[in-house]
């Protein structure tokens, strides 16, 4: 009952001899069980999957993929993102006939364990981020090549670039993204007669106005360590431009340079308009300040608007962080892309790729839309009619930008971001006066990590 000789030979030719031995067994199993029976025996298939990685992959094998795809998800909160995922998975299972086994871990834990996870026994498909953080693991052979899924209909060059590893192959399928912008409550601003500033000076004037109106201008929180990175990024991109951001993150520019010092000095000017005691507050609490009309605005990812009660979300609006230097402009933003990767040795490669191509499709968007608010679909063919106006506006806004950065901790080495930048930015918030000491300390540590 082995599979047709021609195909077995074909598959074998794709594999190194050490792995090729496994193909026969898998072929045998597939033949014996038949496609229908395979569905009821996922455990058995999975059990012998260990040593035939890649066996069914490569050429795309015999037509429709079968069996079970394991899916490592980083949404476990029981909230809207998880409902979106459940809807996606259910719709895919129904349309494809495959089974998806979800292995959900909460966002932070998933991220912190990614090293062990990828080196241990990762799921066939797992949620991850585009950009450097994906390239880092792809370069080390921990993420599977999915170049044959590209180009994806409805995803432009920017997304393809963000999904591409250092070797020019694609390792990622984008799902959604969101911009970092200044969010505010429309009704409050209408009532007070505030208008969105377009220059730095206007922004300062507005902040002063808010202070005299008894409001805290900028909501601010950095207990979790990453929100302040957004502020650093946007000031850096407004003052020094997108290319400098990229080079700085890549370790090619000096952190004790005049450019970086200007960023911190500008930030120091802005700090008095930010909420105090930021280090003891998490961003959810800071967002509540905007919801309760205690803070006037909040520079954060678009996901912040989900902190508003559902019936007030139409009252949230945003504007682009204004221009500081007219020579640099204001057309670069942080808009991190979330999406999915395939593990390097998936147990069911055909299934994984099939699932991945579904995840990147407008069908997936349509299925998930029913479950609740997504951020912004990466696929431009996705149906956006059900989205909140703010999401549609954000999608158009992202499309208008010339340069899109991922985010400080997604654009640089993870060890540098978490062990150097988090303490350094918290140190700055604590003591904004010693910019020289701070920047030279970052630079020294950077040199010890970027070797």
């Amino acid at each position: 009952m082995p599979r047709p000789a021609s195909e077995a030979e074909y598959l074998a030719s794709l594999l190194p001899p050490s792995v090729a031995a496994g193909v026969g067994r898998r072929g045998f199993l597939k033949g014996a069980l038949g496609t229908g029976a395979a569905l009821t025996m996922p455990a058995l298939l999975a059990a012998c999957g260990g040593d035939d990685e890649g066996g069914g992959g490569g050429g795309g094998g015999g037509g429709k993929p079968t069996g079970t795809v394991t899916f490592g998800s980083n949404e476990a909160g029981g909230d809207v993102p998880q409902q979106r995922r459940d809807a996606l998975v259910a719709a895919y299972e129904k349309s494809s006939g495959l089974k998806v086994k979800v292995n959900a871990v909460d966002h932070n834990t998933f991220q912190e364990n990614i090293n062990n996870y990828l080196q241990g026994n990762p799921d066939d498909v797992f949620a991850w981020f585009a950009g450097f953080r994906m390239q880092f693991f792809a370069e080390r052979g921990l993420i599977g090549d999915v170049s044959d899924l590209w180009p994806i209909d409805g995803m432009g060059d920017a997304f393809k670039k963000a999904s591409t590893g250092a070797d020019g192959k694609q390792y990622f399928v984008p799902d959604s993204n969101y911009p970092w912008v200044v969010l505010y409550r429309k009704s409050l601003w209408d009532e007070r007669g505030y208008t969105a500033p377009t220059t730095y000076d206007e922004m300062i004037t507005l902040a002063k106005q808010m202070q005299s109106d008894g409001l805290n201008p900028f909501a601010f929180a950095d207990k979790q360590g990453w929100p302040a990175m957004g502020t650093f990024d946007i000031l850096n991109m407004r003052l020094n431009g997108y290319d400098f951001h990229v080079n700085l993150m890549a370790g090619e520019e000096a952190w004790d340079s005049a450019e970086v010092k200007t960023v911190f000095e500008t930030w120091r000017e802005l700090l008095p308009y930010h909420q105090e005691n930021a280090l003891g507050r998490d961003w959810e609490e800071a967002a509540q300040g905007v919801v309760n009309n205690e803070s006037g605005m909040y520079y954060l990812g678009l996901f912040m608007f989900e902190q508003f009660p559902e019936d007030e979300r139409e009252d949230v609006d945003f504007f682009n962080f204004p221009e500081i230097d007219s020579a640099i402009g204001a057309d670069a933003i942080d808009a991190p892309i979330d999406g999915y990767c395939m593990s390097a040795d998936p147990e069911n490669e055909d299934g994984a790729k099939d699932f991945l191509s579904y995840l990147g499709s407008p069908d997936a968007a349509a299925a998930a839309n029913e479950a609740g608010f997504p951020l912004i679909w990466a696929n431009s063919n996705a149906d956006v009619s059900g989205l909140q106006p703010i999401q549609q506006k954000a999608a158009e806004f992202i499309a208008e930008q010339t340069s899109i950065a991922q985010f400080l901790d997604r654009d640089t080495r993870p060890d540098f971001a978490s062990t150097v930048m988090i303490p350094a930015l918290q140190q700055f918030i604590k003591n904004p006066d010693d910019v020289d000491g701070l920047t030279s300390s970052i630079e020294e540590q950077k040199k010890s990590i970027f070797v």
């Binding site: 912190e112 090293n115 360590g225 003891g280 010890s448």
Partner: protein, 315 residues
């Protein structure tokens, strides 16, 4: 009195033990000897495999640069560079050492005397002392992580009990000037029960005839405690001392729960964790931090061993 007191307790059973032991082992049958051998060998093998070997390996790794991905061939030897970097350019290290020391001193000065005091009171067999005993010990059962959450309810800047009562607005966990102390209060609250229980056990074991003798000699209550009872409890004192040293050095959970050991709550243990666990994976650098921690605790272990060995010899 002080000079004659300590030998009194060990004296009666010490000779008995030394006289009995050899005969016991000599009488063992062959199969007994095999089972004794296994009972010793199996745990030893586990200790070597799970404690000694990893310990040695992390010392070895501390001289390397490794991001924790790939095989042994991706490990790069860089000599003492990690240590050099820790001592010269790693800003959280100094505060971490300081905080560990503060932690040690506070643990020594507050929960220990308080625990002794409570133990002495409970030893008086007051009415309801069993209830108090359980109540005080109850804190020990809770994990430090849970203690962190419970105190969050008290410390929370907006809805917390403390600010509600005092009308203040201090951010107890967030303000780097106060958060260490806030956390220490929570730890002391937990630790006191533990110290109390150990001393209570020690007090129960003190020969009542000693107290009677002291009473007959006309010693006051305080004199009896400090000059007779306390010196007799020397073994307990040493155990408590060692526990405090070890607990202070490996203090971790509560701080991690509060803010992952950043912003005023740096401890060596949290630095090790944030460098090794997580996406960062600076295995070599983190191992060097762990080795420093190991070296510091070894000093205390050495002192402890010296004292106990000394004691054994004196017997």
């Amino acid at each position: 009195m002080t000079t004659s007191a300590p030998p009194v307790v060990p004296a009666p059973d010490a000779p008995k033990r030394t006289a009995k032991r050899p005969t016991q082992i000599g009488r063992l049958s062959r199969s007994d000897r095999i089972s004794v051998f296994l009972m010793v060998a199996v745990p030893t093998a586990f200790v070597v495999w799970l404690v000694v070997l990893p310990g040695i390996l992390s010392v070895v790794l501390s001289f390397t640069r490794w991001e924790g991905i790939g095989g042994i061939d991706t490990i790069e030897w860089i000599g003492t560079e990690n240590y050099k970097n820790i001592f010269t350019i790693y800003p959280p290290f100094d505060p971490a050492i300081q905080h560990n020391l503060i932690w040690l001193v506070v643990q020594f000065l507050i929960p220990t005397p308080l625990g002794i005091f409570l133990a002495v009171l409970l030893d008086k067999e007051l009415r309801g002392s069993r209830f108090y005993q359980s109540a005080f010990f109850y804190t020990v059962i809770l994990s430090l992580a849970l203690v962190g959450f419970m105190w969050q309810l008290i410390y929370s800047p907006d809805q917390g009990l403390l600010n509600e009562i005092t009308g203040g607005s201090t951010d107890w966990y967030g303000d780097p000037d106060v958060n260490l102390w806030a956390v220490l209060v929570a730890t002391c609250w937990k630790q006191t029960g533990y110290v109390m229980l150990l001393y209570l056990a020690g007090l129960k074991a003190v020969d009542p005839s000693l107290r009677e003798a002291a009473k007959v000699d006309g010693a006051s209550e305080a004199q009896t405690f400090f000059r007779v009872v306390f010196p007799v409890m020397r073994p307990i004192n040493i155990i408590v001392l060692v526990i405090i040293f070890i607990e202070s050095l490996r203090a971790f959970d509560i701080v991690w729960v509060v803010n992952k050991g950043r912003n005023g709550l740096e401890l060596i243990s949290t630095l090790v964790t944030s460098n090794i666990i997580g996406e960062a994976s600076r295995i070599g650098f983190g191992s060097a931090l762990a080795t420093i921690m190991l070296a510091i605790s070894s000093i205390f272990v050495a002192i402890y061993l010296r004292i106990t060995m000394h004691e054994e010899r004196n017997r």
